[in-house]
């Protein structure tokens, strides 16, 4: 009797612990081998873009929190920068410094989740607990500043909702001192762990030209070896004042652009974020964080596409203003939305278990994919 050779369609999700949300992957498999992967999205669609058209400009900010809910500061940042460019207003130095510090803390917090869940998905549960402990430090820093732990509504057009707490600088320095050694610990525990390397090295290799053509950004693109970072490429806020490196994938344990490279880029980026915070934290000038907030936000007619480097990649806001109090159109270029398109390309020829490793290394957040 001959072996059965027909292919089978397997649904992974919408409810699956390692899809990081409600995502359905339609796998076409032959035994354990993946022939094709089709992502089905939209389960978390909350009509952000339609809502935004009915809101005034400041009212949109809380909605941006809920796009990439693991990096809400970054979303606020991108949106307020876009509106400020439309308005053409100058921001006080103090606000710029605090914004950069918050965005970098958020980047670390977000990468910690990415790394932790990537590990946990493929069986390494211990690092998950350690990393969430450290993320807790950052969340309490945010809580101390604005009262919220996840969805902050912290950055306002022209300013910030609250000034920093008197203890903030001291506690942030404490965090830096605590966190540096933890990265070393993480590397010993997970990064150079033999089992982890076996699961991620040479899996889901993304060649650079494919990455560019698919529009990948953030650690996914940098993992493939291109040092592209919006903070350096198209500097916004005051990022051109800081000295930091852009880590790229080097194929240290496998091939350039594999899952491990994407993972390791995130680890290295946390170190760079610490460097930026260190440079900024002692130089916060005096000032009033509310002084530049306009009384009435009514941008002139015009369009703007403005982008920032979010933990997951290039977050862009395309805003059309028709001169009214509410935006005419807001389009979000969500990095995860673009990066998820790569799934079909990356999974071909791998095994079912690798899908989880690849998905974890792309680090998606369904909140911003479905908007």
């Amino acid at each position: 009797m001959a072996l059965k050779t027909e292919t089978m369609v397997l649904n992974m999700g919408p409810q699956h612990p390692s899809t990081h949300g409600v995502l359905r992957l339609e796998l076409e498999i032959e035994g354990e081998l993946i022939l094709s992967v089709k992502p089905h999205i939209g389960y978390l669609h909350r009509c952000f873009e339609k809502h935004a058209e009915a809101m005034t400009y400041p009212q949109v900010i809380p909605y941006t929190d809920r796009l990439d809910y693991l990096a809400a500061m970054g979303n606020n940042f991108g949106y307020v920068i876009a509106v400020e460019k439309l308005l053409g207003i100058q921001i006080p130095e103090r606000v710029e410094y605090i914004r950069v510090i918050m965005a970098e803390l958020q980047r670390i917090a977000s990468h910690l989740v990415a790394i932790a869940t990537n590990g946990a998905d493929i069986g390494a549960l211990t690092p998950f607990l350690y990393l969430f402990r450290d993320r807790e430090y950052i969340l309490s820093l945010f809580e101390m500043t604005c009262g919220a732990r996840m969805l902050y509504n912290y950055m306002w057009i022209g300013g910030l909702s609250h000034d920093i707490h008197p203890d903030f600088v001291r506690k942030t320095k404490e965090f830096i001192n605590h966190f540096r050694p933890t990265i070393v610990e993480l590397n010993n525990l997970l990064t150079f762990n033999k089992i982890f390397i076996e699961r991620t090295a040479n899996v889901g290799i993304l060649p650079l030209d494919t990455a560019i053509n698919f529009g990948a950004s953030g650690p996914v693109l940098r993992g493939s070896g291109l040092a592209f970072d919006v903070r350096r490429e198209d500097p916004y806020s005051i990022y051109n004042r800081f000295d930091f490196e852009i880590p790229t994938g080097k194929g240290l344990v496998g091939t350039v652009g594999d899952c491990w490279d994407r993972y390791y880029v995130r680890v290295l980026e946390m170190e760079q974020s610490l460097r930026i915070i260190e440079q900024a934290i002692d130089n916060i000038p005096e000032g009033d964080v509310h002084s530049a907030i306009p009384k009435r936000i009514k941008p002139p007619k015009g369009t703007i596409y403005s982008r920032v480097e979010n933990p997951r990649g290039e977050l862009g806001y395309f805003i059309i203003s028709d001169g009214n109090l509410n935006p005419f159109r807001v389009k979000v270029r969500a990095p995860s939305f673009v990066n998820l398109e790569l799934m079909g390309e990356l999974c071909k020829g791998h095994l079912v278990a690798d899908v989880i490793a690849i998905l974890g290394s792309l680090d998606i957040v369904l909140g911003e994919i479905d908007r």
Binding site: E49, E233, Y305
Partner: protein, 176 residues
């Protein structure tokens, strides 16, 4: 690195009538208007020309210009008749670091655009989203289905300015 004006001149000599104009009035970014049926050719030229090398499509966004006439249909519901829908393409070159914005407009009654799927693979889902939200048909797109809305959504295209929420979806009351 080239300015939008230089790129516009270059395109103008290469494509003549296909390039419709350069809008410099918007304060923040100049926009080059292109013929909707030729946008894939313009895109391929922009990507492959060594001096331009626009290898990355940052974002593709559909827009309802809402520039038609407001009318009431037989049930007395407000509708927009005539006017255009637009698609904006924000391009970027990873090697030359320059950026430009292209724009096409297409009639609201019969919105058709050539797909740029074969030029930038990024456009795959973005075009599906523009189709989903505005009903813009991207010709030669291999897989033009709804993406964010349910596949069987029949109440129209949500981001159009005259969209009305349906009362029922598959016999279920839509609560708000």
């Amino acid at each position: 690195m080239k300015k939008t004006e230089e790129i516009f001149e270059l395109l103008k000599t290469e494509f003549c009538e296909v390039i419709l104009g350069l809008d410099k009035e918007t304060p923040t970014e100049p926009i080059i208007s292109v013929d909707s049926m030729q946008v894939h050719n313009v895109g391929a030229f922009l990507r492959d020309n060594d001096e331009l090398n626009f290898d990355s499509l940052m974002v593709l966004s559909g827009v309802d210009d809402a520039n038609g006439i407001k009318v009431k249909d037989e049930d007395g519901i407000d509708m927009i008749s005539g006017g255009t829908l637009s698609v904006y393409y924000h391009l970027h070159s990873t090697s030359w670091k320059h950026k430009i914005t292209l724009k096409i407009s297409t009639p609201r009654q019969n919105p058709k655009v050539e797909s740029v799927y074969n030029v930038w693979r990024t456009s795959d889902w973005h075009e599906r989203e523009a189709f989903d939200m505005f009903g813009i048909i991207f010709l030669n797109h291999p897989d033009l289905r709804r993406i964010l809305m349910p596949y069987d959504w029949e109440a129209g295209y949500p981001l159009r300015k005259d969209y009305k929420n349906p009362e029922f979806y598959k016999g279920m009351k839509v609560p708000y």
